[in-house]
Symmetry: D2
């Protein structure tokens, strides 16, 4: 931390800062300039944050300079991490495609969508059994019945399952069916849920809050990591801006920025970012080209009757192009397209 | 809903829309213009939302025209509502001040802050025992011990207690101590929490999400109302914008807009909006002048040692000015400053 | 400026920073902490800004700590300024209402609107002869014919005229008719226009850019001030955010923040912020209560036929309420409602 | 346009809408639903916009459904356009790289940067002689002396010149030196400048305003097109959001969206979006992969002494990678990397 004193700060003001820092076990280094004095703090920033330095007389500004997350930071872990979901790798050296329906509706629809996912080059199946919806009058998911469908489809196709959990009290149940827990954009700062996911013993896919800074996203990941779970994959899915031509604004720069600040893998959701089927393939190419470790896309056998987000789902005829893009961009960047495990029973 | 067809839509395209709407039990009215055809839908919009109208060939746009919330809307309840918290009114005819420390730290600090609140004209005491913090390394609140402190201070001062709950599984416990449950900005779309609060039998203070539109805020309130609880007070507390001179941007217009769309009372939190003590009094005056039903402010006996948000807390010398502003603006608008109940034991 | 070095910065990296700063005539003070070294710069920040300090090896961050504007800053001019427009004061001690039609359409409409303005307590007449419109197909104003109408109406009513100028080459012409030049939100960073306005010898009303930070707004004012014109009034008129229930989001906090950072008067435009007639009175009250030096509002004798922004114009029946609000809030804050000069010829 | 009536609108209200529309030469089609009546308007939307339909009693909402630009729209021009700058193509079938220094500083620096541009695969040279700067104390460019340097460097290297113009009164002078006029982000709604550029007889590179919607950007292009100049290239350069980890947020989705709405070529500026050298190559790859018609990047022989935006300039060692990316992605998408003309005199 750096404390900038006001031009009219007195020696007594400066001494008060130094003393308060000392009570928190820190050291303060004073630099007197022509018009301003600056005080650099050395020690544990967590202790300094409990002090109200800004409220002291003579203090003009307090600038924090250390990252407020540690376990997920790259500063402390220079090697980027590889996360494995029932044998499927996500991270350096691989390009991983996750695909499936936005919501699980029926066994048939889910199985068809899983076959579509495989055709699109996916090695993991996504699908929601618990759907957080803005309106209480919208379809909220099938709950445990949906989890069972996902589990059955995994048995048949071999595709490990990624599915969302929306409440801390559901984590144990969802984790008993899923191979990877997804935490959605509206729950990125549901800290009880993050902590429960950190203890569930399954990898976690953490979507960025639509209004969250990259720093806040990494702090949310730190909540999971603190409970002993470092198998976290970050997912950029668009942020809220003034632009209304797209559902959200895909922050493509967040991929290299997050990969630089954190050792965790970073993937992109082009379906929820753009909100339109016609944007999914161009945005997938952009995501892979910028260096994302994968993409997660909506596919649906019959989008016009989908109970959730049909307009953004890819259809049968789009799948070869997505698979090609994934293979081409993986090759360009010296990566391997991740493959699904062979189904046990086949 | 209104469906706008593309310029090149054919009669078959139009017929397909009409037929699909019919399958959902609705009626479609077709208007053919020179360059475009428009189809108006009549019936239950919830059924139409399960259709994927945008995905049909020839459809250019789908425009929703009915409010996606009903129980909290003013369209269906023309009279604005009065919510009562252990005898203290919030709503039309009253100006209500809620004050207290951001976080409960000790019994002494909480009692002192409660006396400060009373001096500031407050009839309700705020204070956090569960604190949702962006960083896992920040102070997270005292938990149940904090609730007990609040309860003791209520017994001594007579001020009913407003306190935050951050997880659905804590609602019952918090409701056993509190007089009003607060749902914070990060949890505005924690739907399990909203539903649990709707069943807790206590009034709810629902803060606007820092990235939520007014419409989303009202839909969040609808989640609570659906469970049978209409004792909801909305609280505008600033939204996230590009401006960094303030902690958040107080959306002062949200007060008259929300009061026009919903029958629920609307108050303002000038402390978390501005993030600076010097802004709290001007923003409180603005809130009262725009027609807010009250304000909720941070006060602290010793902000420079506060464990949370010290820089925005009012201090002793600010209190008379807040009380005066509340009384003056209440009088200007023909309202009465709400009073705290007399403590039982005194 | 403060330079934060990376954890792995070497002594050679630090020396390179110190040397580069010295070449720009500055001094660098080095503070070595346990994990980081911090370098404080003393001297003329303008010279440092020409250096590319961030690009030097070992530099992690560069933090600027001095205000990038001087002439308009309050740091250097502790007293708030009073600007006088043909005898009408704007600034400390006064509450000033400016009113008139968004666009000048006809002599009759403008004269009627001027009488409405006077009824609303206004001492200055606003009205646009040059209208910057997003669409090239929208009404762009009457040009010089509109200026002549404004001038005639001033002669008849005595109300000095505030009108917008949109291009540097028009400044001389507009200044020959107007008493105060308005620079609109879209032109806040049209630097040639700012400089021309700075040399025109008339007071300037500088609207905040809808996407501009308060700091950028003050730097835009500094462009005017640099040309020798300190008769500048700042006008907050709403910023662009994700919220779509209002035309823009009125940043009410910008008033006290800008008054704290700058000595210039600050007024509010509630008409363009809210974009709806029903919001103008509540937002005017909020603006006056927060401490604004005045408001500028749209009035129109027949808004349903207005060529520009009719939905936000006040009508005849709204005027007494605006005048009352201006008088009441002026009295509350110990200010005087500014009065128009008596027309010379009448 | 579609007009949505309020639930309590009367027949007289509806008739009043129909009559007012008729006075503007339009036709109104009335659809009565169970709870609402909808009126569709057919005719010239420009006439309807002069009516104040929202202010009529009984009107709940007015929805616009036609694009407010025509000349630049793809609806009216299905084929995407190719723009040629002194023989260098930008548009379908080509990938075009534009590179050069942010600001022209000296003849040597500019010539070196031009050679760097050529090494990076560029066929056009960018460089600013007029620099719009937020602070009046920052370097503002060399003016005409800078234009002469650019012209000399073009003669020596053969690279046509793209350079910014910031004031309508400078357009003729700048056009006498430049091969393409650039209009910067702060001037996207400087309508006098747009109109002057439309008459200058040179192609125009129109950057998106940092706060402009895609629709507003296309309306700004329409201002240029209205003056008879359709040689316009759109440039996405990042928008302003709450995220501060990057200088701006590159709106990568704007590329396919704008290409879908308009027939004009669309390129991307990864340098000003990200604001950091390390982001320029990943964002260039993303831009090319998403389907942009080219990129415009900053290069500088010695960024650490650059007078403007040094931290985002590519250096010598980055150039082969940019050239490779441009060639690879051009090939992937079946495009040809545009080549510079051979210098006449060499």
């Amino acid at each position: 931390m750096v404390i900038v004193m006001a031009p009219d700060a007195t020696s007594a003001h400066i001494d008060a800062v130094v003393d308060l820092v000392a009570t928190a076990g820190g050291e303060a280094y004073v630099t007197r300039g022509v018009s301003r004095t600056i005080i650099g703090l050395v020690g544990d920033v967590r202790h300094f944050e409990t002090l109200d330095l800004r409220a002291l007389p003579g203090v003009s500004d307090v600038l924090r300079i250390s990252a407020p997350y540690k376990l997920v930071s790259r500063e402390n872990n220079a090697e980027r991490s590889l996360v494995t979901v029932r044998g499927v790798p996500i991270g350096p050296g691989y390009t991983t495609v996750i695909a499936g329906p936005c919501a699980v509706e029926t066994p048939e629809q889910t199985l068809q969508a899983a076959h579509m996912a495989a055709d699109a080059g996916a090695s993991l199946l996504r699908g929601g059994a618990y759907k957080p919806r803005t309106s209480p009058y919208a379809f909220q998911g099938l709950g445990e019945a949906g989890l069972k469908i996902l589990s059955d489809v995994r048995d048949e196709t071999g595709l490990p399952v990624v599915t969302e959990v929306v409440d801390a009290s559901d984590v144990e149940l969802v984790a008993s069916y899923a191979d990877m827990l997804q935490i959605g954009t509206r729950n990125m700062q549901n800290f009880a849920l993050l902590q429960a996911a950190g203890e569930a013993g399954k990898p976690v896919l953490l979507k960025r809050g639509m209004n969250a800074t990259i720093e806040e996203w990494l702090m949310a990941a730190e909540y999971i990591a603190q409970r002993g779970n470092l198998d976290i994959v970050l997912c950029e899915r668009g942020i809220r801006t003034f632009e209304k031509a797209t559902r959200n604004t895909l922050d493509i720069s967040a991929v290299p920025v997050a990969q630089d600040l954190s050792h965790l893998p970073v993937i992109v959701d082009p379906s929820h970012s753009g909100g339109k089927r016609s944007l999914v393939l161009p945005l997938s190419r952009a995501a892979l080209a910028v260096g994302a470790d994968g993409v997660i896309v909506d596919v649906h056998p019959k989008p016009e009757t989908a109970l959730c987000d049909g307009p953004q789902a890819l259809v049968e005829s789009d799948l070869p192009e997505l698979r090609d893009a994934a293979q081409t961009h993986a090759a360009l960047l010296g990566r391997t397209l991740a493959e699904a495990p062979v189904p046990a029973a086949v």
